[in-house]
Amino acid sequence: MFVEYFYYLKDRLPVSITEYMTLIEALDKGLIRNMVEFYYISRSILCKSEHQFDIYDIAFANFFKNASLKFPDEIKQQIWDWLDKEIDPKELPDNFQQFISEIFDLEELQKQFEELLKKQDEDHDGGHHWIGTEGDSRFGHSGQNPMGMKIGGSAGMRMAIQIAQKRIFQDYRKDVVLDTRQIKVALKRLRKLEEIGKRDELNIDKTIDETAKNGGDIELIFEKKRKNNVKLVLLMDVGGSMTPYSHLVNLLFSAANNMSHWKDFKYYYFHNCVYESLYHNAQRNPEESTDFNEFLKKYDSSYKVVIVGDAAMASWELTERYGSIYYYHRNEMPGIYYVKEIANHFKNNVVWLNPEIIRLEWVPWTRKIISSIIPMFHLTIEGIEEAMDFLRKSGKDSYTTVQLLKGFKY
């Protein structure tokens, strides 16, 4: 049973044999007394990040709800014993204690439980709970009683599944956008250590060598520190269709801007598509802008470029001369020229972050074009991480949460 459980999880989560053995050890030592504890303890042992909790919840609920569990006879008694372990009354609500004391003759209950198990063995109606499907027993679904729990038996199981089904950790999933701190953590992936600064670190080995050569007179040798040498340029699409995402873009900007992580950090704004000017602020007045060619001259390919935008615009904005959304704006070259220029100039050092969820069914035509030129990632924690990994090592696919969730019905 636990082997199956392990492999079921292994398909979805990065769990290892070491962790499985730890879980078995915990069971063996009798540290897990009921299903609710099993839920928490197995989570503690198998999941090592709150980002995985949501996936664990779904997997846990699915496994114990849907998998047609058939226990061999010899372990049936054990399972019963295990589930039968009373939950410490102190952990339960007051009215529940009263509730429990009113009912139940354990022996009779065990008999019923056995019958039910047998029944389940006989008819394999897959999708049901392995106990108490049709409300015909005390194990059944009686709705609103405290935490849907009746006693030892199936109840602990149900309670655990219910906890899992609440999916309270949904928000902690990595593919959901969160606060600046997490964005910073994600951005920190992009680093390249190089020696910079003053010679202020004492090199012990060299000091000893030099001192020895010096006949015992101490000669101190100082060296330069190693620091991150990444220079970053952030280009942000503002206004229009990006307005709903302004909060997100702000978060990204303030995260990147507040980090002492970069050797250099610069930012510019544009609207819908990059044309011959890049603006210094979100108001985009022409007086405060940098000419596109100047921009390329100023920043060579040692800079990493992150472009943020939904890449959704009218086709002519991208492909036509004079296609800019602004009537008086006469762009001599189509937007796509500039996109290509950026890609050519910065080579593998440019990524595009898109705040709009990239759906397969409906992709704006311009987004298809742009993402074929510049690699595009979601503006989520996970997307930023992937993008930073891409910038660090020129693109290598990693295991994403989106992939992990494939094949689940929920």
């Binding site: 730890t22 540290l31 303890i41 042992i45 090592k48 902690y172 701190r181 920190k188 001192t211 909060h247």
Partner: protein, 284 residues
């Protein structure tokens, strides 16, 4: 199946030094990690009592607590021992009466990890904010935490733990921890306390606090936490500070209903204060 015999963490501590209350899940996980002899990795929002947990465990089990505060420059070897080359070099040149330059042991001091291993009785070892250090740091500790011993290469000696310490590790998620390290730990995410549990916590810290005042404080507090735009959510420790300040100021319930005094105790960012004052509606 029986509960093996080991010192159990009771979850609720109320002594002069430590006041702490853990929810049943956390209490169980602590006991599981003690029984399995695995380090317990604790994460959670800032201010949910991650560090305090180690203090509470030590207090509850009556064991000594050894703290290893991790900084961005900390290296694994610092926790084991320090070999003061510069001092020795200096002594060899200028001489010293207390130390023997020829005896390398005189220049070796044990770090927190070394102390925990060398202790004659089981101790609680807190490795605080492990994510502050370099990304490779946890990997350098694997062997030490696995077999609980390390090697001093200068003296060619092993320091082996007499009693495996109870290891509590906290992390603020600033850096991701390596998988190999995580596999060896038991992990717990401290959830933010529910309103009821929070009331219990407050009562533990301020036993004389009047119920209606507490209710009002909690009402304000959870209203603040409901504002999603805040950059830094107020946490348990900030709530406790705030209640402390309110009690000292002797504010009346009426006043507290209408205003949010000493907001600076709860919110640490100017922008957040603005947003909060805008969002929270007071009865007029």
């Amino acid at each position: 199946m029986s509960i093996s015999n080991f010192d159990q963490f009771k979850g609720s501590i109320n002594t002069e030094r430590v006041r702490y209350i853990a929810d049943p899940q956390l209490r169980n996980i602590v006991n599981v990690s003690i029984a399995l002899q695995r380090p317990l990795l604790v994460k959670g929002e800032p201010g949910t009592g991650k560090t305090l947990l180690a203090h509470a465990i030590a207090e509850s089990l009556g064991k000594k607590l050894i703290i290893w505060n991790i900084k961005s420059t900390t290296e694994a070897i610092d926790g084991c021992y320090m070999y003061d080359t510069v001092q020795r070099l200096n002594d060899s040149r200028f001489g010293c009466e207390d130390r023997d330059v020829n005896n390398i042991k005189d220049y070796i001091t044990l770090g927190p990890l070394g102390e925990a291993f060398a202790s004659d009785e089981q101790v609680v070892l807190l490795i605080d904010e492990i994510d502050k250090a370099d990304i490779e740091f946890p990997n350098d500790l694997l062997q030490e935490l696995d077999v609980m011993e390390f090697y001093i290469k200068e003296t060619k000696e092993f320091v082996k733990s007499k009693h495996r310490p109870i290891v509590i590790i906290t992390s603020n998620n600033e850096k991701e921890l390596p998988d190999a390290f995580l596999r060896r730990c038991v992990f717990h995410w401290i959830e933010f306390p529910s309103k009821e549990f929070m009331a219990e916590i407050c009562n533990l810290h301020y036993p004389d606090l009047r119920q209606n005042l507490l209710d009002q404080c909690l009402k304000h507090f959870y209203a603040l936490r409901a504002i999603t735009k805040l950059r830094k959510m107020p946490s348990t420790s900030e709530l406790l500070d705030w209640i402390g300040v309110l009690l000292k100021s002797g504010i009346s319930l009426e006043e507290l209903r209408k205003t949010l005094p000493f907001l600076g105790t709860l919110l640490k960012k100017e922008k957040d204060v603005e947003i909060a004052l805008e969002k929270i509606k007071f009865p007029t």
